[in-house]
């Protein structure tokens, strides 16, 4: 039984809106833990467009997704929120008024007064190539991520893709696999040049193969793969013998477990009121891309505003009966103390 982490608020999602929620909650002394499936903060900004410019963040005429993330992290630093990455919140259970239990797929258990769903477009999940029959091999011969490297020892591994995940796992699994083949549609890679160089060295040393082409079919029986049928770039078809295929085609967003938490949903979004950004379950808030209300715009700046209003109500749940004084960060010495600038 794992130790239960008790806290004021759990924020689900470390995208820009989840990060800014740490700030707004921090100003009203609501302590939080932040959970994300990804291995780093930033949500879509970090995963989908770190290098691309954003032009509509107030007072930042131009900022990239990666920069925005690092600036937010700097801004929320004083509040000492704890981050839990590589964890998907799978369960949200209400035990009573302002008493929620959350569980993650990694075995973490939280108990909190308030829950802030900042899950954006949902959980990032690996894209599954629409190869006929692929479902029947999933979990036995086809894997979309590597949880334990040992599971691949002694296997005939075929890795498909040309990004960092594909190249990193090619290099990391090659020493323990029985055989290793990398298949990609072109002889050019978006992965880091260093990994590409390393891969080419392994090929030159005869330790692995690199083939050009795209998988069109799978051969095997009872969930055990024997070969992948590949269309080469010259149009000819050939088979690559393998019992373990790892396709790396990037990530896509799926609503995921949020759908199973008993909240009202509207077209895969969570309806909220526009005074507190609270869901149909009191104490559970939804901010950022995941929520919906009349006039909703899926913009980062909208999520920031939603975080500020949400925090007012979260304060009331933490401190029933207490009045929250409206203060400016510019002039309030108590806010400045929290920010560590005074």
């Amino acid at each position: 039984m794992s130790d239960v982490i008790t806290t004021d608020a759990v924020i689900i999602g470390a995208g820009p809106c989840g990060l800014f929620a740490v700030f707004e909650l921090g100003l009203v002394d609501v302590k939080c833990h932040v959970v994300d499936i990804l291995d780093r903060p930033g949500g879509q900004c970090a995963e989908l467009y770190p290098e691309k410019p954003i032009y509509d963040i107030p007072a930042l005429p131009i900022v990239t997704g990666a920069e925005l993330t690092s600036r937010l992290l700097e801004q929320i630093k004083p509040f000492g929120a704890e981050f839990h990455y590589n964890q998907m919140v799978t369960e949200l259970i209400k035990h009573g008024d302002n008493d929620f239990e959350l569980k993650t797929d990694g075995g973490l258990v939280f108990r909190s007064k308030v829950v802030v769903i900042a899950a954006g477009g949902g959980s990032f999940q690996p894209k599954k190539p629409p190869i006929p029959g692929i479902d029947s091999y999933e979990g036995t011969s086809v894997f979309y991520s590597v949880k334990k490297m040992e599971a691949f020892r002694g296997r005939d591994v075929l890795i498909v893709g040309g990004g960092d995940s594909a190249l990193d796992w090619t290099i990391n699994l090659q020493p323990i696999a029985k055989s290793m083949t990398l298949l990609h549609r072109r002889d050019d890679f978006r992965a880091a040049p260093d990994s590409v160089k390393k891969m080419r060295e392994l090929v030159a040393e005869g330790k692995m193969q690199f083939r050009l082409g795209q998988v069109t079919g799978l051969k095997g029986e009872a969930g055990v793969l024997s070969a992948a049928t590949v269309k080469g770039n010259d149009g000819a078809t050939f088979d690559i013998a393998t019992n373990t295929m790892l396709p790396f085609f990037g990530l896509t967003m799926k609503l995921g477990p949020v759908a199973e938490w008993g909240l009202n949903l509207h077209e895969n979004l969570v309806p909220v009121d526009t005074a507190k950004f609270e869901t149909s379950t009191p104490g559970v808030f939804a901010i950022g891309d995941i929520n919906t209300y009349p006039g909703k715009l899926k913009l980062i700046l909208s999520g920031f505003h939603e975080a500020a209003l949400m925090a007012q109500q979260a304060f009331k749940y933490k401190n029933p009966g207490e009045r929250l004084l409206f203060q400016y960060t510019t002039s309030s010495s108590s806010l400045q103390k929290k920010l560590g600038v005074n």
């Binding site: 467009y49 894209k127 599954k128 190539p129 990004g163 549609r185 072109r186 978006r190 069109t216 896509t252």
Partner: protein, 106 residues
């Protein structure tokens, strides 16, 4: 105005008016053409606006840009005629353009 025809996997055709300056993806979304998901809204960050340009139009549609070429790594069944439709700008020269929509964006 340029007429753009989207051909579905099952052969169904839909011809839409594209305005110069818009992308082929935007033309599809505006006209609710099925099969163009465009999850990232045209930022060349999702590859769910994949189309096959009909052979006679490949040259006119122009070459892929490097970012698009990278992003096509995340599409399925990429062919020589594959493009990301958010990266094709509608011009008068593309009046009559015909593109095929894959069975499934992924």
């Amino acid at each position: 105005m340029a007429k753009i025809t989207f051909i579905q996997h099952n052969g169904a055709e839909q011809t839409c008016d594209g305005s110069p300056g818009m992308s082929v993806m935007e033309t599809a979304i505006k006209n609710m053409v099925p099969g163009i998901d465009a999850d990232c809204g045209g930022a060349c960050a999702c590859a769910t606006c994949h189309v096959y340009v009909e052979p006679e139009w490949v040259d006119k549609a122009g070459p892929r840009n490097p970012m698009e070429e990278d992003m096509l790594d995340f599409a399925f069944d990429v062919q020589d005629s594959s493009r990301l439709s958010c990266q094709i700008k509608v011009t008068d020269a593309l009046d009559g353009l015909r593109v095929r929509v894959p069975a499934k964006q992924f």
